[in-house]
């Protein structure tokens, strides 16, 4: 096959590209310029993006012996990921930009371009496993539970999955680093990236405040009694306990948590831990990563709501638009906008975006 390897400059995508070459594919390396990050990318007169990551990716491609290009996806990234991230927070929701990037950039803009240029698909260094089954191509968790990234890939529909290749899903991270070293890839010991790539400081709240402003609003209890003030409701997360700055203690002295964010009134509602309990979740924008389950039929499975969250035993069903989940045990703290991913054992069934909880 002719494949485009998306190379970030990290160890995973470099080894993934090298494995695809070994498997006999014709591989071309591509680094995506997503220049919305002024700390990471130079924004000079030519608007170029560069420095270490793109050089690391190019160096890895040279060592592997494949052509290497940089694709400017800054505009697509800004419109599809960054603006969405801001709009979601402004609407009182908690988005996951990595899900969005996979859905709109890596396996949409990049995959489309690759196909139109005559390539068969895109390789990334994500940790997930693809298997051809009687029912078609399906995605499973990676063998390394600490690195499993099937959650952030669960936004890919069957067409996107057909062009997606994840050569690292069967390997644990430590072995990938050892392999990188053996292959002479100088990124073997490069640390993993963790932060949101376009928030280089890691200060999510500060980054949001700079862009959405810091209008003072009220912090209230569930009965609407004002307990304090904040400067920007979107800087709070459902389930957050610290940093509320409340001077009025709860009647029973118990700690208080963020229960709700109301963007229209710029209000943060707090309450006790029990009030965070979620027993049922409804998500919209349903995407199926394989065969579509029968609608209006109850299935047993697992729900996961964070990239490295635990799988929660549940019963789920869908009506074609929304996925409804009933959890066996309550979950504490879940925000609208988070990704809801459904698993059948280790197989990714599909995903939705959390719209409401009970």
């Amino acid at each position: 096959m002719k494949l485009i390897a998306a190379m970030s400059g990290g160890v995973d995508s470099a080894v993934a590209a090298a494995r695809a070459v070994d498997a006999g594919h014709e591989v071309i390396g591509v680094h995506l310029a997503l220049s919305s990050n002024p700390q990471k990318y130079r924004s000079g007169a030519r608007g170029c993006c560069t420095i270490e990551d793109s050089h690391d990716a190019r160096r890895a491609a040279d060592v592997i012996g494949i052509p290497f290009y940089i694709w400017d996806m800054a505009q697509e990234f800004h419109e599809g990921v960054v603006e969405n991230f801001l709009a979601e927070y402004a609407g009182g929701r908690t988005p996951n930009p990595c899900l969005r990037c996979n859905e709109k950039i890596k396996f949409a803009a990049v995959l489309d371009r690759a196909k139109n240029l005559g390539f068969d698909g895109v390789i990334t260094g994500h940790y997930a496993q693809m298997q051809e089954t009687e029912l078609g191509r399906m995605m499973f968790r990676a063998v390394d539970p600490g690195k499993d990234q099937s959650y952030v890939l669960a936004v890919l529909n069957t067409d996107q999955l057909a062009g997606a290749h994840f050569p690292l899903g069967d390997t644990v991270k430590d072995d990938v680093r050892i392999e990188a070293k053996k292959r002479g890839l100088y990124v073997a010991n490069k640390p993993d990236s963790h932060d949101i790539c376009f928030v280089p400081s890691g200060d999510n709240a500060g980054w949001l405040r700079d862009r959405l402003g810091s209008e003072t609003g009220s912090i209230v209890d569930e009965s609407g009694n004002k307990l304090g003030e904040h400067n920007g409701a979107y800087t709070y997360t459902i389930g957050q306990r610290r940093g509320l700055g409340l001077t009025v203690p709860a009647s029973g002295g118990e700690p208080r948590y963020v229960l709700k964010i109301e963007p229209k009134t710029n209000t943060v509602v707090v309450g006790n831990h029990e009030a965070l309990a979620v027993n049922a979740i409804v998500g919209d924008r349903a995407i199926w990563c394989g065969p579509v389950p029968e609608s209006d039929t109850k299935y047993r499975g697992f729900a996961q709501v964070r990239a490295h969250g635990s799988p929660l035993a549940c019963t789920y069903s869908h009506d074609g638009i929304e996925i409804s989940v009933s959890l066996d045990e309550p979950l504490f703290g879940l925000a609208a906008g988070q990704g809801l991913v459904i698993y059948d054992g280790d197989r990714v069934v599909g995903s939705a975006t959390v719209s409401r909880t009970e």
């Binding site: 310029a33 007169a45 170029c48 052509p67 940089i70 400017d72 371009r113 240029l117």
Partner: protein, 390 residues
């Protein structure tokens, strides 16, 4: 099988240069040392300088070796600016053309941002030449404020030779520098005849090694240096002389100049053949590099409805190396400022390729490129159509 059509980026090194460099690398000594080892090297370096100076129409003492054309350009721009404002703080204007190489535009921009210089860009007409009337008016109105005029001898993306003699005439007492890296060795270039104040030439564009270039600087002129140290080059440029590279530069330049007319004719013939076949193969393309006088081998062409980074990838996969003109170090193609300066839209500039033919190319190579171009362009068009719909 690969085909190299990017001679304006760098040209193949000549065998005579390789032989000269290899021989020189076996000789021990620092050209600045007074002992016999140093003297022996210095003799070879100065012979090379002398030969090179004759080829460029200068005297030996007017040749200042640098590590790259970029360094020579920086030395000229910053050196003349600092010299001018030291003598008269009102001389803050640096005049250049709108389609200069970044090795001229960026040092000027740096002086604008950090040292309150003022940049004035001479516009480019639709044929790819500077607007002399604009320059004339500018000098008439603001001549006393101008520190330096720097206009390239030939443009690296279009090949057009600029009217440097006229620029020098208009400039009067104002220093004039020209970036002649694309011209030297390919077309007539004579420093003294043009009465220039300074000029940049570079070895790797004429079949010499990488990492050696020169600023030709009129005798008796001092410039404020960028590199301070041993003062090896007229106290204007410091650093141990790179003897093997200088010797290789000279050998390559001698060879290029000896064969210049022959090479020009051969390369121009290939270019004309390429253009005529291109028009047949892709009738809706537009050739941007049609004006003369020009370098022999540059073809700049717009393929409407494409993006050059897609075309470069597809051509590369066919083993064909050419360029989009202006790629930065990160490799993201931006709309060429050269093409935009001569009146193309950003979209047209984005759809343009620079093919630069050299003396080692053959007609059968051109035929092979022509045979794959229509399918490459078709695919690139499809990619753009779909991304627009998305």
């Amino acid at each position: 099988m690969t085909i190299y059509l990017d001679h304006a980026a760098t040209a193949p090194i000549n065998e005579v240069a390789i032989d000269a460099i290899t021989k020189a690398m076996r000789n021990l000594g620092n050209a600045s040392s007074v002992h016999n080892h140093g003297r022996a090297i210095r003799k070879d370096v100065e012979d090379a300088r002398h030969a090179l100076s004759e080829l460029v129409g200068a005297s030996a003492s007017e040749v200042i070796f640098t590590g790259s054309g970029t360094e020579a350009n920086n030395l000229a721009i910053k050196g003349f600016y600092w010299k001018a404002i030291a003598a008269n703080p009102k001389r803050k204007v640096i005049v250049t053309s709108a389609f200069e190489h970044h090795a001229i535009l960026d040092p000027i921009q740096w002086l604008v941002e950090h040292e309150s210089a003022e940049q004035v860009l001479v516009p480019i007409n639709h044929s790819g030449f500077i607007d002399l009337d604009f320059l004339k008016d500018l000098i008439a109105n603001r001549g006393s404020e101008i520190a330096l005029i720097s206009v390239m001898h030939s443009n690296n993306e279009l090949g057009t030779l600029q009217p440097i003699a006229e620029v020098v005439k208009l400039a009067g007492q104002i220093p004039v520098h020209t970036d002649a890296v694309q011209s030297f060795g390919k077309v007539d270039f004579d420093f003294a005849k043009l009465d220039l104040t300074a000029a940049t030439i570079s070895a790797h564009k004429v079949g010499g090694p990488l990492g050696i270039a020169a600023l030709i600087l009129k005798r008796g002129l001092d410039l404020v240096p960028i590199l301070h140290g041993g003062g090896q080059e007229r106290e204007i440029r410091s650093g141990t002389l790179n003897a093997p590279a200088i010797i290789g530069f000279s050998a390559a330049a001698i060879y290029a100049l000896e064969n210049r007319t022959l090479n020009f004719t051969k390369v121009r013939k290939l270019r004309d053949y390429f253009i005529s076949e291109l028009k047949k193969a892709v009738p809706d393309c537009t050739i941007n590099s049609i004006s003369d006088p020009a370098l022999p081998g540059i073809v700049n062409v717009t393929f409407p409805g494409t993006e050059n980074d897609a075309m470069l990838l597809l051509l590369d996969s066919e083993g064909i190396s050419c360029s989009a003109g202006s790629a930065c170090s990160a490799g993201v193609p931006r709309p060429s400022h050269v093409l935009v300066a001569m009146g193309l839209t950003e979209e047209q500039a984005d759809a343009s390729l620079r093919i630069s033919i050299g003396v080692t190319n053959t007609q059968s190579e051109i035929d092979q490129v022509i045979s794959v171009l229509p399918s490459v362009i078709q695919r690139a068009r499809k990619a753009l159509d779909v991304s627009r719909l998305a």
